[in-house]
């Protein structure tokens, strides 16, 4: 331990996003960091990511592989973004003891450390990972010897000046030595523990710096993820990525709701949907999630006490299909246990998911789950923190909140969230005519011209729709009564329509009759004119005939002819 003081002030950056921030700059340079965790918790990835970072910085690192072959380890991490450029510069020493090796007595690490030291000197390495040291130590078969060799390694590291990472399985006792490897914590300068828990079908990984000799560090358990970039620790207390604020509207997934809100929710705003149990708050939220994911926006849906597949199944029955978006990765469903954890822990989890997923939209269903009875002081702040987190990151957040069916304005159970929500919709049951129907009202829509009208929320296998409601003598009509009213209106429309057609036909008939009459008259006129002409002609002939006859008579009565009269 002597001579450690000066060295401990130095840090070696790990290059693991988020880790160096919580570790005050990195791992202790020239010290031993022990990484403890169960199988599959990411210990080897942790080590390889540090070696790769070191290699990319121009300093080759050494991997001493005790559990798996170096070849296999390199293959396992080959998919990470940094692997291609870095892995070729990592010096791999295979130190597995194959099954073909027989055990004929006690051994030690002296020869190994001599060879590792020579390799480090040859390549100018600064960083070394002993991966799966517990596997080698297990062959020592004696807890006392195991400790002695572990301390030998620690002293060797300190003397070498190398920054060492030792990974080992922790927790489960090793039957070969009759103990576990938790004692490694005592010899280490820094201890990082990794574990994962499956919470309601969601695997969550956590990292904790259990010890950091002589250095300030965060000892909180922090969520981390293994992404294509490797390990990413959710260390920030704020979310750095910020979507630019905009006045853009995002569709709610319900056409008529978009109309009521002049186009949809404001991007980056907070929406609160309140209502009694069963008022379809989840359906409204899920409709938004479906629409958002369908637009190609990453969406995080946090539910409490309801498993993801349960939500998918439930909303599928009303035509909201979340499964394809979960499959495409656009939608992440996360289920948290409402009563299992404190509101602060839940806020931390939501924050971690936001940091890791960096979604454009967040649904919390219901936000009221963050307010457990008995922690009055925290309940409002927990919900507020989530809204603030989303807001600072420009994430559109849609929350549901459970309230009684009484007038919500009078309720204090809303955590005063309604005051900071930008849009507040309430769904209530309206009982009338022996039915209970769902009425949606927009109480508030900041900066939006919104409809003040109540709409009936109708769920069918084609999704969520809104229907007009009828107000008759001050009563809002919904359900069957609305349907009857709609039918009545339809009948009236049809009647009006039919009447108009008849009137038109009648007018056409009258016109046709008039035209026919006109035609008849014209024909009669022609005939009469013809007759008249005939009569006149006949009359002229008669006069002529009489004149001729008169002449003939005169002629016969007198022998002489008067002067020509013709």
């Amino acid at each position: 331990m002597v001579g450690m003081v000066g060295r401990e002030t130095l840090r070696s950056a790990t290059g693991i996003p988020g880790f160096d921030e919580i570790a005050d700059g990195g791992l202790p340079t020239g010290g031993v960091t022990v990484v403890l965790g169960g199988a599959g918790t990411g210990k080897t990835t942790f080590g390889m990511q540090i070696l790769s970072h070191s290699a990319l910085e121009g300093t080759p690192g050494i991997l001493v592989a005790f559990e798996e072959s170096g070849e296999r380890i390199l293959a396992n991490v080959a998919g990470f973004a940094w692997a291609k450029a870095a892995l070729g510069k990592v010096v791999v020493l295979d130190a597995q003891l194959s099954h073909a090796i027989e055990h004929g007595g006690e051994f030690d690490l002296m020869g190994l450390l001599a060879m590792v030291g020579a390799t480090a000197a040859k390549h100018g390495a600064r960083c070394i990972v002993f991966d799966g040291l517990d596997v080698l130590l297990g062959y020592l078969g004696d807890a006392v010897v195991v400790r002695r060799e572990a301390f030998r390694l620690r002293d060797w590291v300190h003397a070498s000046g190398l920054t060492a990472i030792v990974t080992a399985k922790a927790g489960a006792p090793d039957p070969r030595i009759g103990a576990d490897y938790d004692f490694l914590q005592f010899l280490a300068d820094c201890v990082v523990t990794l574990h994962h828990r499956v919470i309601q079908g969601t695997a969550l990984r956590f990292l904790r710096i259990a010890k950091y000799r002589g250095a300030p560090h965060s000892s909180n358990e922090l969520p981390f993820a293994i992404t294509p970039m490797g390990i990413e620790v959710a260390a920030n207390t704020t979310i750095d990525l910020t979507y630019p604020t905009s006045n853009a509207r995002v569709g709610t997934g319900i056409d008529r709701l978009d109309s009521m809100l002049s186009g949809g929710y404001y991007q980056g705003s907070s929406v609160l949907i309140t209502g009694a149990p069963g008022t379809a708050k989840t359906s409204i939220a899920a409709a938004f999630a479906e629409a958002a994911a369908g637009r190609g926006e990453r969406t995080l849906y946090v539910s409490f006490d309801e498993a993801p597949d349960q939500i998918v199944r439930n909303v599928a029955s009303i035509g909201i299909q979340l499964a394809p978006h979960v499959a495409s990765g656009m939608l992440s469903l996360v289920s948290l246990r409402g009563h299992a954890e404190s509101p602060e822990a839940q806020v931390a989890r939501i924050r971690a998911h936001l940091q890791l997923l960096r979604p454009r939209n967040l649904v919390i269903d219901p936000l009221s789950a963050l307010s457990q009875p008995g922690d009055e002081a925290n309940r409002e702040s927990a919900a507020r923190q989530v809204l603030d987190l989303a807001k600072t990151a420009g994430i559109t957040i849609v929350n549901t909140s459970l309230v009684g069916n009484a007038l919500p304005l009078a309720e204090h159970t809303l955590l005063n969230v309604s005051t900071i929500a930008d849009t507040w919709m309430h769904v209530s049951y309206v009982s009338h005519g022996g039915e209970r129907n769902r009425a949606l009202t927009i109480f508030k829509a900041r900066g939006t011209g919104h409809s003040n009208q109540v709409r009936e929320l109708v769920l069918s296998d084609r999704g969520v729709t809104l229907a007009d409601v009828y107000v008759v003598e001050g009563e809002v009509l919904m359900g069957t009564l609305r349907w009857e009213k709609e039918n009545e209106a339809r009948r009236t429309r049809i009647a009006h329509h039919n009447g108009a057609v008849l009137r038109e036909q009648r007018a056409e008939l009258a016109l046709a009759q008039t035209r026919a009459q006109q035609d008849t008259l014209s024909r009669a006129q022609a005939i009469q004119e013809a007759e008249l002409a005939q009569l006149r002609a006949d009359a002229t002939i008669e006069v002529d005939r009489r004149a001729v006859e008169a002449d003939e008579l005169l002629l016969r009565r007198r022998a002489d002819l008067p002067d020509a009269v013709e």
Binding site: V64, E102, H103, D108, M110, G111, A114, A118, T119
Partner: protein, 92 residues
């Protein structure tokens, strides 16, 4: 048949010194016969151990007769050692 052995040791590490002593005692115990023994100090010649893929010491490798056998440790297990070297009754 020649018994060909390699013993990888680490300088004056107690287990290495014990392994050398145990090996010599066992060889003395078995019937006389041609023996080739190479003792490699990986502290002195680390490249040799790395090249041969022997990273943990002490390690005895019996190269001949085949099949090759490897015994890890200070060779305290005399029965195993004699069996690998060829039992006192002369069987290999």
């Amino acid at each position: 048949m020649t018994l060909r052995l390699r013993l990888y040791v680490a300088d004056d590490a107690p287990n290495s010194l014990t392994a050398i002593a145990n090996l010599r005692a066992a060889l003395a115990q078995r019937p006389a016969g041609p023996v080739e023994l190479e003792i490699i100090d990986v502290v002195d010649d680390p490249a040799r151990g790395l090249r041969d893929g022997i990273l943990v010491t002490p390690m005895l490798v019996r190269l001949a007769p085949v099949p090759e056998r490897r015994i890890l440790g200070n060779l305290r297990d005399r029965a195993l050692l004699l069996e690998v070297l060829g039992a006192p009754d002369g069987t290999a």
